[in-house]
Symmetry: D3
Subunit: 209 residues, 6 copies
């Protein structure tokens, strides 16, 4: 009962592994991923702020840290399934929101319910914060895929993951995205230069698409 139940639920995300099924040298839990997204977003927002953009830090904090909280109820559903059709995607989002709402109604004391409803909402929207979250989320996908490929993982799925995340990122209008493309991405490509995977080519193709 109460906020204790909410606090205790957090540990479930330590036991949900991202990208289940595919062979990975290094597994990542949803909680580890969430923490990295919080960290990436902090730096991306700093870069945005240094370009004169105003950042709502409270909103950023809330949407980045809780962005995968719903997976406690819904698990980590494979991307090809989540995006099979707009209809299914909408339905799964509805289920997740329904389960989160039900949890709040059942366990969160009344005086805090509005805060939780606000905080556990879907964070990816057209605001600066929402877009930074989208970039940070995709950035972790880039790093997860890059690391596997660099270590010698032969599963072509990781090339697709790297590529799709990059395409997603470059389409988002933010100063920190420009910074990423100009300064961070080249360093990733250099780091991958000794690998048998041609990161330079894959990156070029993705940026050109």
């Amino acid at each position: 009962m109460g906020i204790h139940t909410y606090f205790q639920s957090l540990t479930d995300l330590e036991r949900i592994i991202r990208c289940p099924g595919r062979f990975k040298f290094q597994e990542h839990s949803v909680s580890a991923h969430s923490w990295k997204v919080v960290q990436y977003a902090k730096t991306l927002a700093d870069i945005e702020e240094s370009n004169g953009v105003v950042v709502d830090w409270k909103k950023l904090y809330e949407i980045t840290s809780s962005h995968d909280y719903g997976e406690i109820f819904i698990g980590d559903i494979k991307t090809p399934v989540k995006h099979y059709s707009l209809e299914l995607r909408a339905m799964l989002q509805q289920v997740e929101e329904g389960m989160v709402a039900h949890f709040i109604d059942e366990h969160i004391p009344e005086e805090f319910q509005h805060i939780f409803r606000s905080q556990l909402r879907e964070g990816k929207d057209d605001s600066v914060e929402g877009k930074i979250l989208e970039v940070a989320d995709k950035l972790d996908q880039i790093y997860e895929a890059f690391t596997e490929l660099q270590l010698g993982n032969t599963d072509k799925e990781f090339i697709l993951m790297y590529r799709n995340a990059l395409i997603k990122i470059k389409g988002i209008q933010l100063h920190c995205v420009d910074y990423f493309l100009q300064h961070i991405l080249p360093d990733i490509v250099i780091a991958g230069s000794k690998s048998s995977i041609d990161f330079e080519q894959i990156t070029k193709d993705a940026l050109a698409s």
Copy 2:
């Protein structure tokens, strides 16, 4: 390409863990679960046969061994999500069937496609074999939950799992179900007698519901 791709895909089920998120002393992969279901079903079918029922062993073999094959594409989706609404359940089943069909079209040589479409179909129906599969599947849920509770897992979800699986099983009209209720279930309850969980009571309630 070819059947090699199908053979190589099987190993993915070794890396999908059932019931993700909840704390478990013992994790179970979908491939281990599938093997146990094949084994349970074999014995249940033997009991059915010994009561004069005709069993189509080829059909049983096919539907038990492949019953979770689709999870290679769709992952292990939490039960409360799968069954959130009839609409979502139907949609997820559709997605799974679509992905399996797509895989067959793309990788299985034409001369074997009809065999694969037949074998990788949904196996739970009203035939003897389909019902035995349902019982075997639920039986593994009983054993998974029972073992966790016996080891001291405090998550009430396992009591629900045990209970719901039992209720499901008792509603299926088969001789082997009668045998299970009369001879196997009592032994499970005895085995759990030293636990702090009152298996006798939970079992009684489930059978009476």
Copy 3:
């Protein structure tokens, strides 16, 4: 007691790891291996049937799913030990059969003992089903070794495993073996073409030996 004890024993095979000692990027439990053998055998038998051979599906189901059941008692004994001498091999088989027989006598209700004795017997013989089991078992050895080598495992033991399994398979007279050699094996070699291991050469040598 009873069939409950048999059902509960199955989970032990989830905790016995194949090929202990050697470094592996990916571990495989005996239960996962057993499930894959069931799957391979199903497809191999389909290919055999499509060539006009009659398959006893009940027998195939029984001998493939239970083919490593005895390891619950005897563990996964390293191949070089099992085959050290004909005398030791016979003795270990005797021990395994003795322990399985003892288990059946002690736990299986009398009316089902003959079924269990029949089902938990050694399945590899000269029948079509027995030979299919042999091929399926060796096929998993090929895939286990191939995957390790492809990921960069430097242990030469896996080259030996790959090679020996191939030599074993090609010596078995079955239509599905011909199919495997003509259609599946070439795809495996192609999949391994980017690896630093020369799969083409190793495969050629094995087939020529």
Copy 4:
């Protein structure tokens, strides 16, 4: 080089396990812990805000998410060692700060160095945010210890951990601490009522000390 090196370093915290050496049913990585601290702090700050206190959300975001970043260089040093003497504690803190400073100098582009120096500083101070971080950090220690004891862990160290964290928390002057003591802690004690550990007594003693 560059921010890429910083982003890539984050994953190290997924591989540092808290409380090494002691037997635990459930291991926790420093990244999972960091994420939970971010989450706890968010809710604690909400409670504080609802009592009319002004919270610097940007500061809270920074100090909670990065509070264990230094462990990338220094690892998770056992508490009895860290606090062996004020002299050693100061020295280790100096080492950690030195290594973090060195990392920033070497890898972070000049234009962002001041931001990183500010963000990766020691966060626990007398500000509202610093105190909330301290409470959140100790709260995770309570939950980690409580869960182990509830599952049957016999290591008395976890009773000490639970107790010491509670004593630390109750000494911090915050509205959210009052809320925790009045509403959340009782729920933890209730949740632990079926355990063989007398949480009620241990909690009483800690609060009275």
Copy 5:
């Protein structure tokens, strides 16, 4: 080639898990077990020496540290199999010795072969050192079983392991065994007093048998 091959082989024992198949909260590798046996034996020999017995420390060092080296070739074979019959036990010992001898012949430089043959011999004999090794080996079996039972493991096999190891130890004529029975064993029983297992009774029965 050479001693490098011997040095490199040692790591295999980190990947062989003792007691495979049975559910354990805590797994133990053969290398960890070997190290603990070296440690126990050191203390047991100190106690023996303090009673005026002369200990050949070089011999003790050699036979304790290498006592399970042969498992690199033979794996960890389940006790009920190893001891199924005197004939099989002798044969397995022969196989192990043969494989170790072959390894020495093939990889150890000639000038050191006699040292290795002496060091990798079977150490359990009637000498003081051989008996201390036997006690140390069984002592680890006691601790492994005791810990599992204390944590709530319901597998009766661990009660048997605890009991059999105790019976074996008490039958060995050494001063350190007397010390163990009088001073160490009572402390183990006290440590297990809060467990649901009646260690006092099991211990009494074993000592009386």
Copy 6:
């Protein structure tokens, strides 16, 4: 209490992982490392003896097997931290010795305390045994790093580990070090010849420095 507490503490070293944080294909516990050091040291001492040097085997046994015992209290502290400054290194050593001494005072019966104080002392000194321990400890660092690099680990830290260990070893005046450099090290380099890492060059540089 008593020696039971000492015996029971040993298992903690099975749960402390060396080199935490860095990605490794193969993790090594401190107990496995300790066992390998015992084994290396045995062979190195044999080589030393064969060159006419007198070895105190009891001393060697004691200092090799217990050389990391203190990590039960202090954990595995990263080398860059341990060696940050002579002052910190001395302080950490003091803490470790203090904790070990405290443990002996509290748990070891009086009549054995002097033995334990002698045995759990720092073993690396200028004696033959102390130098052999130093070589054996660094040898395991060579093998740990070499294996990771051979498997494709891209973390340059392992090249540094390999190099530094080699530099340390070559500076120690022992016959077995000469033997290592002339006979064992070349075999390691040969074993690494197919790797993308230029072991020959790295080894040359280290030996020349």
